[in-house]
């Protein structure tokens, strides 16, 4: 192990740190998150080295924003450890098998041996993404336009509500609506929100308005992750989704289907097959493999209109992501475990 160029301490001067979770592990932790019980400061224990008797850990204080971005794979580990930590120094502790500190020191950032730091540009594994009912939307740059905030909060809620109904509630609470004339699309999504059980309702738990900052939601994190993944899917396959959606809307417009008042009108027989194909194509392209039950829940016209309206929500969220105003966690990065 390296001799450290720092100040030897009798003990780590941060008392009672509480272990939260391991962010990376292989035969035991390699990177672990601790929190200070009183001021809620976050500390990372980063494994550096070992002898036959001890493991050496670098302990550094990190901001909540950086922690969120790290665990959601928005920034590489090297962006935080060591130079992105909150102090001008870190601690090194050598812990034996009983987790007793055999050596503790304070080392200035510039004096940390390079081999005790991660290589540039390497991200954590995919599986560290938090799945405990918490979902973070990262604020990449400050935006003062309140209208954009409104769009973000509303569209995220609506997209989440739609997916929750289709996936978790298996489309059983999707009610029939006319989807024509003066029907309010917002009314539909609000109704979708209303049927979500309170424990999974998309509540904003905390916000930090800064660049970078974050919005922390408490909700069903798996469904929220699907929203984020759909935004990425839209960004990469937007042309196909837009084309299908445009064709669908053109078909409805061309045949003036919005003007057909009666759901039992004989005209539907000739349009249902095409509407079914359009809706199925759109839902598949959006990345909703659970589309079958949804498609069976309503007539093809309503299903098509709902799918089209949902695509609009994802489009709005994608615009915010493309403008680098916000960033969704992406849990579908290929080739990673």
């Amino acid at each position: 192990m390296h001799d450290l160029n720092g100040i030897v301490l009798k003990y780590l001067p941060i008392a009672d740190l509480k272990w939260v979770r391991d962010l990376e592990a292989y035969d035991g932790p390699l990177l672990s998150l601790f929190v200070h019980p009183r001021n809620n400061d976050n500390y990372l224990y980063y494994w550096c080295d070992a002898t036959a008797e001890v493991n050496r850990w670098m302990v550094s204080r990190v901001s909540e924003s950086n922690l969120i971005r790290l665990s959601n794979r928005k920034i590489p580990l090297s962006q935080i450890i060591p130079k992105g930590c909150e102090d001008d120094y870190v601690y090194f502790v050598d812990l034996d098998a009983k987790r007793e500190a055999k050596h503790t020191s304070l080392v200035l950032l510039d004096n940390i041996p390079e081999s005790y730091t991660p290589a540039q540009g390497v991200f954590l594994s995919e599986q560290v993404v938090d799945k405990t009912g918490i979902y973070h939307v990262m604020i990449e740059r400050g935006f003062s336009d309140t209208n954009k905030w409104r769009i973000l909060l509303k569209e995220f809620d609506y997209a989440y509500a739609f997916l929750y109904n289709v996936i978790k509630l298996k489309s059983q609470r999707v009610r029939s609506h006319p989807w024509r004339g003066g029907f309010s699309v917002m009314h539909f999504f609000k109704e979708m929100l209303r049927v979500i059980p309170v424990e999974d309702y998309p509540n904003v738990d905390s916000m930090k308005f800064s660049s970078p900052g974050y919005i922390t939601y408490k909700l069903d994190a798996d469904i929220a992750a699907r929203v984020g993944n759909m935004v990425y899917n839209y960004i990469s396959r937007g042309e196909e989704i837009d084309r299908t959606n445009t064709e669908l809307k053109s078909y409805i417009s061309l045949h003036k289907l919005i003007d057909v008042k009666s759901p039992v009108d004989s005209v539907w027989a000739q349009h249902d097959p095409a509407l079914t194909v359009y809706a199925e194509s759109l839902l598949k392209a959006m990345g909703i493999p659970e589309y079958k039950l949804f498609m069976e829940s309503q007539r093809p016209f309503e299903v098509a209109r709902m799918a089209s309206s949902f695509a609009k929500r994802i489009l709005e969220l994608s615009r915010l992501e493309l403008d680098r105003l916000i960033s969704f966690p992406n849990t579908i990065q290929p080739g990673l475990d």
Partner: protein, 141 residues
């Protein structure tokens, strides 16, 4: 068959989790130190000093299993990624990749993850140090 570390495993409910493990037949891969006879090479985390952890590791069923990989390519890819995050990772998990045959009398394995990693619970007669051979220096690759 009796599991190696039987006394430790008996301290848990359902360890190894019988619904999640199955016998394995084929070639597997494990990170080891540069001499295959190194006594640390085939020790599970709970038995390998110095234990690396903040909570009682032997309180975890999986800490009495050996980490293995399904293919050489997946093991090498995994190691390369982790070496970027921990430059001394070889000190704690090994520097070389060993390959060897695994058969049902050796023990039972969990299903592999996407990275190819799985846990292997050995039976007491299992001695991989006699069956595995080093095939690559992954730390200096």
């Amino acid at each position: 068959m009796i599991f190696k570390y039987k006394l430790h495993l008996e301290g848990f409910d359902d360890c190894p989790p019988l619904s999640k493990v199955s016998p394995l037949e084929g070639v597997s891969y494990r990170f080891v130190y540069h001499v295959i006879s190194d006594p640390k090479n085939f020790l599970p985390p709970a038995s390998k000093p110095p234990e690396r952890g903040f909570v009682q590791r032997d309180a975890c069923c999986g800490s009495h299993a050996l980490s293995m990989f399904t293919t050489k390519a997946k093991a090498c890819k995994w190691y390369k990624e982790k070496k970027g995050l921990w430059r001394h990772i070889g000190v704690t998990i090994g520097t070389h990749l060993a390959e060897g045959p695994v058969a049902p009398p050796d023990g039972v394995a969990t299903a592999p993850s996407k990275s190819g990693h799985f846990d292997f619970f050995e039976f007491d007669i299992c001695d991989f140090s006699k069956k595995f051979a080093i095939i690559e220096d992954v730390h200096n690759a």
